[in-house]
Symmetry: C2
Subunit: 567 residues, 2 copies
């Protein structure tokens, strides 16, 4: 009888369940279920950056994904599940009523997007984020001291304030707002009621301005002054938060039945996906883990002693926060990331395919045989990035003469700004699509380098990088370029579901199978499937190109400042 744990990973489009043997570390089975309402595009307005998810999507898909998982367990294998943990996207909060029920689960709010989870990438709250940045910066202590100095429209309080301002009905019914990762844990442990509800350290510290040094969340007075609509919300949150190695509660009979799991098994505190993914990738001081997808989420950890100077915790400027215990208990977790990585390549692909969509498919009657067939479009669309990579890989560093920035979605770190945009210089008549693509790949690698350099400048060592996610396995060209530009070796993580694996590791600790996360990692964390070594002969050229990247970036930053100055 194998002792197993379950990692449940709520991503942007789907939830994944991963069953792992606690003692062998073997990944026994996994299953994925897509959110049905989200898949239909309901409740979203992409042109307004509004992205909402229905709580019923999360509940329905939870039952389906775990039930589906059992069908994937090899026949004859006897497993006993001893614990489970959740990771989710974030900050993804929802308004709940005085019973702790998300409003959209009540009949009168069932179709109201403001009563649903506000997904991490919803940017409707840009204005509110600016107001919070200003208020927090002017406050003593500066409540953004441990959050990189800038509050983001992607974060909890900005979204809360935006929803409260937008929707009187939600405003009147909202007792509190809860993060997705905490809510899932509360649901299956029967602790959604406000009196029993508890928060994990990760979301609270990185997105809610929670910090021990000011006794938890900013004061109610601070929020009232910001906007009277916020009155009471901070004081209704418990100032106590919990690291993910701790047991949040026990699986209720109802959910044990719905999921086919034993009643009363341990459920760990939830956290954000890339934080748990970092644990599966064996993050440790000096190691940066990087989830590489459309954007990146970069995580490292440091002992608080290493950050402390004359008794004061030093902060890393311009990152997404540093929180004691947000990744590994006993270490400060530091988060950063790029707003666009794969998205930059996707943008270029969309650009190149424009004629096919707008010219190619609409040939008139006389030209019927000229119209592009859907199968041809699909064929071209599927292959264009790999063909570009093949051609771009033939070029030498510096050969294109092109410099690009990676800020096509603005800049997350270092120094968050939604005002900056992408720029490209050095284009000549002979600048071909593969040359431009190579420059864009270099730009994403330079954007990453800017993050690691910021960490290093501010006293957080980065000696080694572990990458996680699709791009790291799909594109050797991108990875080799990264190694050459970062000038450090890069390990590619074996596991295809590192975030769910991280959740499983925490479940094993929460269930008491291992006394510490580190000990669980020895057995359960993922191995490395491939290592890229930097080519030292390219270092000097890339140092020069990085300087050009920084010069172009400084120009864009200065343009933005001068516009702001005029406003």
């Amino acid at each position: 009888m194998s002792q197993c744990v379950l990692g449940l990973d709520y991503g942007t489009d789907s939830v994944r369940a991963l069953l792992v043997d606690c003692h062998s570390g073997k990944e026994i089975a996994n299953h994925v279920v897509y959110y049905p309402r989200w898949a239909k595009g309901l409740y979203c307005e992409p042109s307004k950056d509004q992205f909402r998810q229905h709580p019923q999507d999360y509940l329905d898909s939870l039952q389906q994904v775990v039930q589906g998982l059992w069908h994937k367990v090899p026949a004859g294998l006897a497993v006993t599940v001893v614990g489970l943990s959740f990771d989710t996207t974030g900050s993804t909060p929802v308004a709940v009523d005085a019973n702790g029920t998300p409003l959209a689960l009540l009949p009168e709010f069932a179709e109201n997007p403001n009563a649903m989870f506000v997904l991490w990438k919803d940017h409707t709250a840009v204005q509110e984020a600016d107001e919070i940045t200003q208020a927090a910066t002017n406050h003593s202590p500066n409540y953004l001291r441990f959050s990189g100095g800038i509050y983001s429209s992607e974060w909890y309080w900005a979204k809360v304030l935006h929803v409260l301002r937008q929707d009187a009905q939600v405003r009147n019914a909202a007792y509190s707002f809860v993060e997705h990762c905490d809510w899932m844990t509360a649901v299956v442990t029967g602790t959604t009621a406000p009196a029993e509800f508890r928060m994990g350290r990760c979301a609270a510290g990185h997105k809610l301005m929670w910090h021990d040094s000011w006794g938890g969340f900013p004061t109610d007075a601070f929020f009232q002054q910001l906007d009277p609509l916020l009155q009471g919300f901070a004081s209704r949150l418990s100032p106590q938060t919990y690291t993910s190695d701790q047991c949040a509660g026990r699986l209720t009979p109802e959910w044990a039945d719905r999921l086919g799991l034993p009643v009363g098994i341990a459920v760990g505190f939830g956290a954000f996906d890339c934080h748990m993914g970092a644990v599966a990738a064996r993050v440790r001081p000096g190691v940066l883990t990087k989830v590489m997808g459309t954007s990146t989420c970069d995580i490292t950890v440091a002992p608080i002693t290493a950050l402390t100077l004359q008794g004061v915790e030093q902060t890393v400027r311009g990152i997404c926060g540093q929180v004691d215990g947000s990744v590994l208990p006993g270490l400060v977790g530091l988060e950063a990331g790029q707003s666009a990585f794969g998205d930059l390549y996707a943008w270029f692909k969309q650009l190149l395919l424009w004629p096919l969509h707008y010219v190619g498919t609409e040939a008139g009657d006389d030209e019927h045989d000229l119209a592009l067939q859907p199968s041809q479009l699909e064929y071209l669309s599927d292959r264009v990035l790999s063909e570009l990579s093949q051609h771009a890989a033939q070029l030498q560093p510096g050969q294109t003469g092109i410099t690009a920035l990676d800020w096509v979605n603005g800049r997350r770190t270092p120094d968050a700004s939604q005002r900056v945009a992408m720029a490209i210089s050095g284009l000549k008549m002979g600048s071909s699509a593969p040359q431009l693509f190579r420059a864009l790949v270099e730009a994403t690698a330079f954007g990453s380098r800017a993050i690691t350099e910021r960490f290093r400048q501010q006293g957080v060592p980065v000696d080694h990088i572990v990458v996680i996610g699709g791009i790291s396995k799909k594109s050797p060209f991108v990875m080799q370029t990264c190694a050459d530009i970062w000038q450090c070796s890069i390990d590619v993580l074996e596991s295809e579901q590192s975030c769910a694996l991280g959740a499983a590791i925490f479940a094993a600790v929460a269930a008491g199978i291992y006394p510490t996360v580190e000990q669980a990692q020895v057995v359960m964390a993922s191995s490395v499937c491939q290592t890229y070594q930097p080519n030292p002969t390219h270092a000097a050229t890339y140092n020069q190109l990085y300087e050009k990247y920084q010069q172009l970036g400084a120009f864009v930053d200065a343009s933005v400042s001068s516009v702001q100055g005029q406003e």
Copy 2:
């Protein structure tokens, strides 16, 4: 019996003959012949910017184009030709022997590209141009004073020095070098022998550093010091030059026979195409004419008195020269231009079509039905720019948030630099192909505006713009954008062959039909077929966008200077 004149226009790819009635101004017939060797790509290496044309191409096509013209004259119409004139590209020089024969017409040089005409767009002489700029700038008087301050690799002396350095055989055989426009005139008047050879003012003044104030060309000593290989070449050129209204000679019996023309008719002095095109477009003080093709050639004129301050002729910094009589006798002709106009759109089209060439057509055997057919590719290729224009025209000024430069071929004016390149800023995830295309169209219009603003700043008025060439008739979207950005009305010239028409106007004066060019213009110059008026509601937005264009340009200029500083 109509009295007619013949304008012969040697373009980059073909020669055009235009027959015009001197007294009605009616364009009676025209004919085009493509250069056969050039059409095959012979003697050129585009990757090295080497573009050479064989003198035999010019001779053969001259006979063909005029013979072909007679077949186009309406049956029954009796015409008598009283004169002809040539315009050609330039600077396009060739090495000639002591008899004045282009070396490539001698059997031993027949296949040697260095013995052929070095076409205007040949950029093999970048190094030599830099040396000439430095030497001329250090000389007193500054021999570049009337040439915008910078010698170009497109110009005569740079090309001469490059060929002399490259090719010992040509070096030993070369007695002199002659410009295409002057050679054509000499050929048909039998004055190719050095003792009889005479130069037009246009090529000499704009490309050979000829100026009255220093008695003609720079001294032989100057050139010797630059490079001993140049010894004697300047002193073998007659310091006397001639405006195009003057008669250069009489048609020889041999050429009268070959062309089917009367012996002894007047042949005017030749000049460059856009200079003669400007005359057909009724250029006058305050009017800028603009030949818009892959690049632009901008011409205006000013009375010398308007340029003179305290007895000294003021020079316009950073343009392609100002030469008394180079356009209209008695006025200073000023030349400027953009290195890329249509070329910028062509670059973007090529970029977008990359996947079709490199992915679309190479589907494997299993995917045979997915491969793009040549007819589909042609269909897409033909329509992509017009579709982009249609979509881009729907956008409002400033809506894209994108700023672009037009320097994809470097910058001709203002302030020539082959080191600068194109740049684009303000790109976001939603930046689509039509948005980018709109930004590129705006960039070309801003590049033009920079030229007119330079003229105005330096005391040369530009109140009105007349445009000539394909783009001006093919793209109302481009033209309206130009009107809005230039903030002046734009006349589109009716004539489809304004350069040839300009040559015909000069032929009529050389033949004595009209005493002055101005009087010939009254009857013969082209009318306007369309006028674009600027939309004043867009002026403020475009002023802001132009400021951003200048800021981006200043960044690129500064980057180039800092690189040069490091070298």
